[in-house]
């Protein structure tokens, strides 16, 4: 049931990305291009998403468990560390080069095309390489070595 719900909500998320135009990298880059042909649309996308998401969070705070019985898995860290800042900076650099963040990159697989596939494979390679390095460090075998 949670898998079905997640699939439906991922689909709703994908519809939202396409409807808002965030699947068009040019629209995203034009938002970031404040000194050029500025297109403020992205601010309204994030504003709308933020407002509804904030209501959802407020409701969740008054609930003991999620509707399907799970506990809420919400990040609790509050510290600002180099990983957070460095990672966000690298992400921003890549986002500014092409105009795709992870959601729209995956949503655009519906469109296909060489450019999207190159980007998505590189994104998965980067994410996978990073997570395997971390997983390697954290594994018991690596600790013993």
């Amino acid at each position: 049931m949670r898998t079905l719900v997640a699939g439906l909500l991922g689909t709703l998320f994908g519809v939202g990305l396409a409807v808002s135009g965030m699947t068009n990298p040019a629209k995203v880059l034009n938002f970031l291009d404040i000194a050029g042909v500025w297109d403020p649309t992205l601010a309204l996308v994030m504003g709308g998403a933020f407002a509804v998401s904030a209501v959802g969070y407020a409701v969740s705070e008054r609930s003991a468990r999620a509707w399907l019985g799970d506990v809420f898995a919400i990040p609790t860290r509050r510290d600002l560390d180099a990983s957070l800042l460095g990672g966000a900076a690298l992400f921003g650099l890549g986002w500014g080069l092409v105009g795709l963040c992870p959601g729209p990159a995956l949503a655009n697989l519906a469109r296909g095309g060489t450019e999207i596939w190159i980007f998505v494979v590189a994104l998965l390679a980067g994410a996978g390489a990073y997570r395997f390095v971390i997983a390697g460090r954290a594994s018991p075998l690596a600790e013993r070595a």
Partner: protein
């Protein structure tokens, strides 16, 4: 490519994204951060039972939703991307590594994290917005790319 300011479409799509995030939290108790779902869903070998299926289902929904939307509206928003393989590979790698190292992207930090007032997410969002805008400024106005 110049794009028109489309406030109504932006707000409508944003509300859908927010609704998906709010309902994933309320129904499943999970945060709709795409990079976290992607990184854990694909690469975390120690996932609790049942975690991988919902993650992969959510990710599969993204192109399905975009496809349904394009079917209904005929790609109203258009699409233009750099043809440069070097830029695409560099951008993909940076987004992949950066979102895992920084524990989130536009959805996890920018929408969900900010919506619950997370200090880490507010700082991360300000950081990636600033570096992305700086990158575009240098590419377009200093180096003169299209």
């Amino acid at each position: 490519m110049e794009t028109a300011f489309t406030p109504l479409a932006g707000l409508t799509g944003g509300i859908m994204i927010g609704l998906a995030s709010a309902l994933l939290l309320l129904a499943n108790g999970r945060i709709a951060g795409i990079s976290g779902i992607l990184g854990r869903g694909f690469f975390d070998r120690a996932q609790a039972p049942g975690e991988r299926p919902w993650r992969l289902a959510f990710l599969a929904g993204l192109p399905l939703g975009a496809w349904l939307s394009m079917l209904a509206t005929g790609d109203a928003m258009g699409f233009a991307i750099t043809p440069s393989p070097a830029l695409l590979v560099a951008g993909g790698l940076l987004v992949g590594v950066g979102t895992q190292l920084g524990s989130g992207c536009t959805s996890g930090h920018g929408v969900c994290g900010m919506a619950r007032g997370s200090r880490r997410s507010i700082v991360a969002t300000a950081t990636f917005m600033a570096t992305a805008a700086l990158t575009v400024f240098v590419a377009r106005h200093v180096l003169g790319a299209a």
